[in-house]
Symmetry: C2
Subunit: 460 residues, 2 copies
């Protein structure tokens, strides 16, 4: 990577920026829907993070943020932690979007015109504005969402620099989620959930979880960032899986937003909030993916994984659709459960579990955890592994006595290679992403079809 | 530094934490004033950052965040950037404070009791609460203040790691101030200022600065962090000057808050907000000062300077008392103007301008910028320096031809040493802080006495 944009890139990015600026200025002057402003800002976010990633790569290498890509025949040093650029551009976008999000309300509140169905009450405040109808609760949401994302970026940077132990860094996102949990406590405070029909005889129709609900939200915000962070190890997979999740959430939002009835859905605001947070996320992520896709020119770092996961957690929690969100995380949930024996050291866990690169074939193969005679595998665990081998859920190797001496590492990437044989890195990524998209679509279908069976009504 | 707390420290910190927790729990159950909660949280903030700074110092050294203290006879390596710990604990405090800040409103909004003068309107929202009277605009302020501070911490970390060029990093705080400027735009939008009497014939009583006002606020938020960052170079001065400024702002807040009339001052909320933001700041800063004071065990890093300056900028901007704030920055403003010839390279600027340590006497002396014959000083600049020397505003050295060959570096610390002779490092710090306190108190006196002359009424 030379650190320079090619001529084609320069002109394409400029064209994209100029078009975005045009849409943006048009949206502002015509009082257009904020969604167009959000789209235009995403375009700007894409072009600027694309260029900045290219320009600053060398600076990251200079301060030691670099690593070798071990799944290549000639590993070269690549800049690490480049997701930081995307994350910062994203923060800027969210702030730049504020005036567009609230322009309509500012106009309605100041002039009294422009929005004739607003009944303005005689409550002139010191500033000379009618603030009565101003959606301050939406404004507070933006502030705290921003605070949470900025915090997770701080902690991601600290993690990338300090190389924190896994069992500590697992809880990092919990700290970062405090701003939105604080907001939730102060502002909404809704801690009841609708009970599935089967359990209603015992629990009633609605149950108030109280402080358990905060634990639940905290768990969501710990899970999303970490689950993206551990479904990693091949070029592009962290960013691309995040892009797939973002698009699936947008699809779900569209169900609520695309007008099918004359009245707006009561959850319109929540889902608009989600759209406004996800569009610029897609902008900065596509720019990063272009550099991180096989063969990678940059690595994204834990900063990006935390940041991406926290965007989803914020959107799900503030939008009150965290259960739906979990349906879109099925491959990550599977990967987490499947990894658990190694994460909790029931099965020995090597430092890196990414698929092994076979330099002869140029293909990736499942990597293995081997058990030395000094540190043998627990006998019962060995038996369970053999059963899982029979079920084709991993592949073990045994010595002549039938003792398990190695197993493929317990990640979804290795499992996929066990099932479908050695693959080139980009091919593996594409197949995993296709599977993820399919499972996600299925999840959404189940969500909106079967909700009737479980909850007696879909909230769509 | 062993990285361990002594027994005395452990017990003192535990006692402080337990007392703080007691006050906190009492405040919660008795619906006490949030200011007690804020005080208690500051106690917790002090003890926890004190301990964490001690425990994590070695980890900072391990990842290369270290530097030598050149003003000591035996310079040893000290951890750098430890202000990050204070900044993170501070963020946590601000969030933990939210439920206390809003408890009264939550109670009033939910039960309808507890606050009998609130007229509850029949506006039951979906959550079952009367949200009508909930001060959401205050909540949004917290969110965006948090966002701004988290952003400036990110940028401080990046600056500390990447060693950004001075002319770039000068503008770093402008990025960080965007959240509060965005909030200001969307929510308050007050861009008029009261005109001093002398100018009223030309400008009228109130003038609307429009977008200039945003430039002004942006300038404040660029100035505060940078001015603290350049009044640096001896043990403890960055933290101690911030503590002095924070206490002076608190004193000014007290003028508005301490009841002198039966009705509350209209600016009560702004000044309470300032108190709530500054008390925990004092907590984390005192813990840092204990480690950073002469002889320093840790360095604070640009992260702390940016963070501290931005706390003041946020408080001043959101509290609408940015002009008063500037009166408390007079030594920093003087230092900035005095430094300008070197900052803008009119006078050559060496890499470091901190006072020179004389190992023989153990005292600090003014450091010098020397002008080589290859790169001589502009003749006219030399003449100006000679005049300034006569005015005792610096000290030059001349060769036999009367050409200026060196000048003391243009910082307030060097100037103080020119005036008052060589001093030990802590003595210099104490004198500068005493001067700063005196000037600040004078500033406040002028503010509240002379305001009548300039603005026809004091807003007190």
């Amino acid at each position: 990577m030379t650190g320079q944009l090619s001529n084609t890139e320069t002109w394409s990015l400029l064209a994209c920026s100029v078009a975005s600026l045009g849409v943006l200025s048009n949206t502002w002057s015509s009082d257009g829907a904020p969604v167009f402003a959000s789209l235009a800002l995403s375009g700007l976010a894409f072009s600027s993070s694309y260029a900045i990633i290219r320009w600053t790569g060398d600076a990251f290498i200079r301060v030691g943020r670099k690593g070798k890509d071990m799944s290549k025949k000639q590993p070269i040093e690549l800049p690490e932690m480049m997701g930081l650029v995307s994350a910062l551009v994203y923060l800027l976008c969210i702030i730049a979007f504020l005036p567009f999000a609230f322009k309509h309300d500012i106009v309605a509140a100041t002039s009294g015109g422009g929005n004739k169905d607003v009944v303005i009450e005689a409550q002139v405040v010191e500033t000379g504005r009618f603030l009565h109808r101003f959606p301050l609760e939406k404004l507070a949401s933006y502030g705290f969402a921003y605070g949470t994302l900025a915090t997770v970026i701080i902690l991601g940077i600290i993690d990338d620099f300090f190389d924190i132990r896994w069992r500590h860094k697992f809880f990092i996102p919990a700290f970062a989620s405090l701003p939105i949990l604080g907001l939730y406590f102060v502002d909404f405070g809704v801690t009841h959930v609708v009970v599935p029909i089967a359990l209603r005889p015992y629990l009633g129709e609605i149950v108030d979880l109280g402080s358990l609900y905060y634990l639940y939200m905290s768990a969501i915000s710990i899970f999303c960032p970490n689950s993206i962070n551990i479904l990693a190890g091949i070029n592009g997979i962290e960013v691309a899986q995040s892009i797939v999740i973002a698009m699936l959430i947008l699809l779900n939002d569209a169900f609520y937003l695309v007008p099918s009835t004359p009245t707006l859905h009561p959850a319109t605001d929540s889902h608009l909030f989600s759209v406004y947070l996800l569009l610029p996320f897609l902008g900065v992520s596509f720019a990063l993916l272009k550099h991180n896709w096989f063969p990678a020119k940059v690595f994204v770092g834990d900063t990006y994984c935390y940041f991406a996961g926290m965007v989803f957690a914020v959107v799900g929690i503030m939008g009150h659709f965290s259960k739906t969100l979990m349906l879109l995380f099925i491959p990550q949930i599977f990967n987490f459960i499947y990894s658990a024996p190694q994460l909790f050291h029931i099965v020995p866990c090597p430092r890196h579990r990414l698929p092994r690169f076979n330099a002869r074939t140029g293909l990736l193969e499942p990597s293995k955890a081997t058990f030395s005679p000094e540190k043998p595998l627990n006998k019962w665990v060995g038996e369970v592994l053999k059963v899982l081998d029979t079920l084709k859920l991993l592949r073990v190797e045994m010595d002549e006595k039938g003792t398990v001496v190695s197993t493929t590492n317990l990640t979804i990437l290795n499992l996929w290679l066990v099932w479908r044989g050695p693959k080139r890195e980009d091919r593996l990524a594409v197949e995993i992403l296709a599977m993820q998209t399919f499972v996600g679509l299925l999840g959404l279908a189940v969500r909106h079809r079967l909700a009737l069976v479980i909850f007696s009504q879909d909230n769509l």
